[in-house]
């Protein structure tokens, strides 16, 4: 009895760890899906991955655990973050669904799928856990190496090819060949004149208001903000802080304060 029990149950320590970290992992995953901003999703995912790494270790896959941390969390997630930065940190896509019924279908499928999977696992009577004790006896890394360089050597070689191809592909995709020489200042100026675009240099941001940060549009005489004064990138990302109306607010506050002072002065005269 007890021997059999031992066969498919684990130490309470692991159990504890599982329940705690598992919950966190699930939460992280959910956050990954539901966070508005891509950056946050990325961070949550990173967290989940680290937890997974821990689980690998717990399952006796020491090498994988380490690789998970180094490759995934270290390299891949950072790559993600780079791209997010490239595309725009706050490029949050509204979670409002455009395709009719997509979300509900998705959730329904997801739910059903999950239940079915669990059901499948459930009625697959998996009670035989004969542990990795003797598999890892010669050390986990050695064991993997033995397999990779004997049984899976071809697959291994092919993955090498795959990686190279991927690297080259990435370069090809992202690299843009400059076909014509860069335009000189003079040419640009003449072009501007020809196309009759904004001949003088663009107005500086925040000049006409009391701010002068780059992300604040300068105000036109009528108090409205002028997009022109902010650089394109910020405009694309929609990261313009509009202060046109808090300027007015400040003015109001000023007048009030002055009135108060004046009022106090009247009392003083009585």
């Amino acid at each position: 009895m007890s021997a059999q029990l031992a066969a498919y149950s684990t130490s309470t320590g692991e159990a504890f760890q599982f329940w705690v970290l598992g919950t966190v992992a699930v939460v992280g995953a959910l956050c990954t899906v539901f966070m508005k901003k891509a950056v946050h999703s990325a961070l949550c995912l990173a967290g989940t991955m680290i937890i997974l790494a821990v689980f690998y270790l717990a399952n006796g896959a020491y090498f994988l655990g380490v690789v998970q941390i180094i490759v995934y969390t270290g390299a891949i997630m950072m790559l993600f973050l780079f791209v997010v930065m490239l595309v725009g940190v706050t490029a949050a896509d509204s979670l409002k669904e455009t395709i009719k019924g997509q979300r509900w279908l998705a959730l329904l499928c997801g739910l059903g799928f999950g239940i079915l999977l669990c059901a499948g696992i459930g009625n697959a009577s998996l009670n035989e856990f004969n542990g990795l004790a003797q598999a890892n006896s010669g050390g986990n890394v050695e064991g993997l190496a033995a397999l990779i360089f004997t049984k899976y050597v071809f697959a291994f070689e092919i993955t090498g090819a795959l990686l190279i191809t991927a690297a080259v592909g990435a370069m090809v995709l992202t690299h843009r060949e400059r076909t014509e020489r860069a335009k000189t200042q003079r040419e640009l100026a003449e072009e501007r004149v020809r196309e009759n675009k904004q001949l003088p240099p663009l107005p500086a941001p925040g000049v006409y208001a009391r701010h002068n940060a780059v992300d604040i549009a300068g105000l036109l005489p009528d108090g409205t903000a002028s997009e022109l004064t902010v650089i394109k990138t910020l405009r694309d990302r929609g990261q313009i802080r509009d202060v046109s109306n808090d300027a007015i607010k400040d003015l109001k506050a000023l007048e009030q304060r002055s009135e108060e002072r004046l009022g106090r002065e009247e009392e003083a005269t009585k």
């Binding site: 395709i99 997509q102 079915l116 009625n123």
Partner: protein, 648 residues
């Protein structure tokens, strides 16, 4: 000797092959080759005949087995010939009269640029007919049977540029096909009943099967005979067949085609003997046709059509006789032979008359021709006397015997048939006299009025050489045409006496068609006398009507019967309304059905599919994610399925 039989067929067949495949380079000699080969076949026939006379009655029949034609499990058809007295009679008639007609055609078709082909067809006709009478099983007979149909098709439609000719040819073939259907069904019945269709086994073992089967076979054979021999109800093609050149008409009517039916019935005598109902039907058909043809013959003003009507009724006599069973077979064949002579003579005469009259066929535009074409007059006259059964001439002997036999059938049937036959004899006398008077006597109605030349000047190229539109200059025909007429005239005068006196012919045929002497309720002499009497009456009536009074050039409206008879007693109209129209409607509606219904169903499904897919296309909104959803759902379903499978 046996080996000669095949040559009988081979000679004309070779001729046909050579002439039809030879091409233009044979145009010069084509007619000679054709005639010679026909004659060759006649000579062979004569040799075999002499040989046959040399033997004693029992061993006269000879046979020749060439090769096994269709050997299939349980189904053996051979190409084998048998030559007995019956076949021999036909062989001589066919080749003899046939050769004469070939000879005649040399002159008649002289000015037709397609004369070579014409002779090719004639040879084909002979070959087919010989095959028909020489075959030793029904299937091979069937080949000849259809071959005759083909040859008649080609010859009737020889002047194909005339739509009427083409139509007539087609009609002849189709009507014959209906008959052929009967023959093929009869053969199938024989096969299922006897397991074979060779004459010998079938006819010997008629006793071993039920009468019903035999009746069925007999009726089917009768249907076939009706088709070929132009008996009611399949007679309609014969009249139109006159579209062909006159020698063709002579060949069809006298020697070959129409006699085939009689041959078939006489040959299958045993079957009919064992099936009284079939016999009765045969006699009825014969009697009806006999009157039908005679009545039609009375009304026609077209000389050839009048003769066609007479053929119909004469064949009616033969079928009637054949239907009488053993008492009639011999006379049927005998009348067939004599009829072969005088009818051929009459047709050739008519041809010669037309030849002299710019191919005018309306007898009302003839008249008084005797002094212009004496030879034609004499031969035609002899033929005329023979057919009306003038005592002493051939027609007299044969027809008289048939009438006797009809009475001898006994009972009311006997009386009815006999009297019908007598009536027929009277009418025959009447219309033949009419033809004779209209053509050769009376004032010359063709003078001082242009002959109604055919609408299409290219019609009947034989006429082109003599100014087709001018007033005709009746003249005697060339030697090549008159000689055959003379020979045939001899035949029609003496054949009857030669056969009839001492029952020579009867004894000759008896071994094949075992003859039974019938005992007419009234004495033979009475019958003979009455025959002569009715003949005289008929002649008299005709004389009173056409000999005394002048004949109007334009036919009077005539009585209802006359008008009906001019239209072949409305038989064609019936066919047209019922068969042709009905058929047209049927086919047209079927075409519609095929296009809308059968095809429509399919196209309909296709269309609905199209609509469905169009609706389905909406799902393909191009959003990768919605595709992904369907994938995901599919995966879910798959898992569900696997789980279910495992659960079950």
């Amino acid at each position: 000797m046996e080996n000669l039989i095949a040559l009988l067929v081979a000679a004309p067949l070779l001729g046909a092959a050579v002439l039809l495949c030879g091409g233009r380079r044979l145009d010069a000699v084509g007619h000679v080759i054709g005639t010679v080969l026909a004659a060759v076949s006649f000579v062979i026939g004569a040799i075999l005949f002499a040989d046959m006379l040399g033997k004693d009655e029992e061993h006269r029949a000879i046979a020749q087995h060439l090769f096994s034609w269709i050997p299939v499990e349980g189904f053996q058809a051979d190409v084998a010939f048998q030559l007995d007295q019956l076949s021999m009679t036909f062989v001589l008639l066919i080749t003899g009269v046939g050769s004469l007609i070939h000879l005649y055609s040399i002159g008649y078709m002289e000015h037709d640029e397609r004369r070579r082909r014409f002779f090719g067809y004639l040879n084909l006709f002979l070959a087919a007919m010989l095959l028909l009478v020489l075959a030793d099983n029904y299937l091979l007979l069937y080949v000849g049977w259809e071959g005759v149909g083909l040859a008649s098709y080609l010859l009737i439609g020889f002047w194909q540029h005339k739509p009427s000719a083409a139509t007539a040819a087609k009609k002849a073939f189709l009507v014959n096909r209906v008959g052929d259907m009967g023959l093929s069904i009869a053969i199938m019945l024989m096969f299922t009943t006897f397991g074979t269709f060779a004459f010998g086994p079938v006819l010997e073992s008629t006793g071993e099967t039920s009468e019903g089967t035999l009746t069925a076979i007999g009726l089917m054979l009768l249907l076939a005979a009706c088709g070929k021999s132009a008996q009611v109800p399949l007679q309609s093609w014969l009249g139109d067949a006159m579209e062909g050149p006159t020698p063709v008409s002579a060949l069809i009517h006298a020697a070959t085609m129409v006699t085939a039916g009689v041959y078939l019935i006489v040959r299958s005598g045993e079957i009919f003997n064992a099936a009284p109902d079939a016999q009765l039907a045969t006699t009825v058909v014969g009697a009806v046709t006999l009157l039908f043809g005679a009545i039609v013959g009375c009304a026609k003003d077209d000389i050839k059509k009048a003769l066609a009507g007479s053929t119909m009724s004469q064949i009616g006599y033969m079928i009637l006789a054949a239907g009488l069973g053993p008492i009639g077979y011999v006379f049927a064949i005998m009348h067939l032979v004599t009829h072969g002579f005088f009818k051929a003579g009459l047709f050739l005469g008519a041809g010669s008359v037309m030849h002299g009259m710019n191919d005018e066929v309306d007898m009302r535009k003839y008249g008084g021709l005797r002094k212009y074409m004496p030879v034609t007059f004499v031969t035609f006259g002899l033929g005329y006397l023979a057919i009306i059964g003038f005592p002493g001439l051939s027609g007299f002997f044969s027809k008289d015997k048939i009438i006797e036999a009809a009475f001898a059938k006994g009972g009311t049937e006997g009386w009815i048939l006999g009297s019908v036959a007598l009536l027929g004899a009277a009418i025959t006398a009447y219309y033949m006299t009419r033809v004779m008077l209209l053509t050769f006597f009376g004032e010359e109605r063709w003078r001082n009025q242009p002959t109604a030349s055919p609408a299409d000047p290219s019609v009947e190229p034989a006429a082109e050489h003599q100014g087709a539109h001018a007033e005709p200059h009746p003249h005697e025909s060339p030697r090549s045409m008159t000689i055959p007429m003379i020979v045939l005239a001899f035949g029609s005068v003496f054949a009857g006496a030669f056969f009839g006196i001492g029952d020579r012919f009867m004894h000759w045929l008896e071994p094949v068609t075992e003859h039974a002497h019938g005992h007419p309720p009234i004495g033979a002499t009475t019958v003979t006398l009455s025959t002569v009497a009715v003949m005289v009456i008929g002649v008299g009536a005709a004389y009173l009507q056409y000999g005394r009074r002048p004949v109007p050039v334009v036919a009077p409206r005539g009585s209802l019967l006359t008008r009906a008879a001019r239209r072949d007693l409305l038989q064609d109209d019936f066919n047209h309304v019922v068969l042709v129209r009905g058929g047209e409607h049927l086919t047209r509606s079927l075409v519609y059905v095929d296009h809308t219904l059968v095809d429509g169903v399919v196209n309909g499904t296709a269309a609905s599919m199209g609509g469905f897919s169009g609706r389905l296309r909406k799902l393909q909104n191009g959003y990768a994610r919605s595709y992904a959803v369907s994938m995901f759902g599919g995966a879910a379903i798959l898992i569900a399925a696997t789980l279910l499978m495992r659960a079950v």
